[in-house]
Symmetry: C2
Subunit: 181 residues, 2 copies
């Protein structure tokens, strides 16, 4: 797998990527080396600037890094990366450099120190803006400060976790007249 | 459409329904009449007891009801209900009884006053347990106290909102060896 050339995505469109609930890969750095965590527990909170909430287990390696650096990147993988997504969820960054182990490419972000995962079709650079519920519920409120997308992927199919390694892949698209944003 | 007979779903399995990020219908009651709101901004927060977070706009009719009653039901529709899902998102309960208008069946819940939507294949009875972020971000933390599922629907296909009335329907399922819950 090689990294791809990404274009900036308008921040007002970020919700369209996350609202459907895809599995994402969270990338961070502790200053020494980068790390990756598989995550499904996230939701949009506001449209623009795009605010999201996510749950990062306090038993994992990523929790302390995010609490300290207040930065993370949400990378959205397509189904082609499904095995890597599971592999990233099956080991801890405490003992493994997941970028190296799984042949993923850390590429520089524009506004955070945490790297983008080159192989993911979209990357959302985030800064933590509220940790009021971090101690009790592991919830972090984040603002997406820059978004990237690979426009060459015309029909990216994301995956949705149903538990225990079972994923549903995006199927057909339907369009209905709607006043909803 | 008619209501279906539901079975109790073990609370430990609730995350398997919400983690994939389906569009849900939120049902509530103000004591006088029930209401419905279409929602995509929700996430799991803990496995058992199942805790979830959701965003309910303070510009809508549901916000004040949930803040006052601290109760709501998350109903999960399948693709067959897509038009109704959009219709519920396109009008306000302030002037319309959406159950009547859209031919949906309010059925009694077991532990909350808010009704279940009979036509949805799963229903999660929720009590609000934390409103610390409700004023600033419209975020409500809820515990699922009882869950119902229609076991006759063997392959329910949910829908995921990509913005502006575009929905992706569940496609194929893949299973990968995973240590993840």
């Amino acid at each position: 797998m090689t990294s791809t050339v990404k274009k900036t995505l308008a921040l007002a469109k970020v919700y369209q990527l996350l609202e459907p609930g895809p599995v994402v890969l969270v990338s961070t750095t502790n200053g020494t080396r980068p790390n990756i965590m598989t995550m499904s527990w996230h939701m949009m909170v506001d449209f623009e600037p795009p605010i999201l909430a996510c749950v990062i287990s306090n038993r994992g390696f990523t929790f302390d890094i995010v609490k300290k650096t207040k930065e993370l990147v949400l990378n959205i993988p397509t189904v082609e990366l499904a095995k890597t997504v599971v592999a990233c969820g099956n080991c801890t960054g405490q003992s493994v450099d997941k970028f190296k182990k799984f042949g993923l490419t850390p590429t520089p972000a524009s506004l955070v120190q945490a790297p983008l995962i080159g192989e993911c079709y979209a990357n959302l650079e985030c800064k933590v803006i509220d940790t009021k519920l971090a101690s009790k519920y592991n919830i972090f409120i984040c603002e997406v400060v820059h978004a990237w997308i690979d426009r060459k992927q015309l029909h990216p199919r994301t995956i949705h976790h149903h538990g225990n390694g079972t994923f549903v892949v995006d199927g057909p698209t339907i369009k209905l007249p709607s006043k909803m944003k």
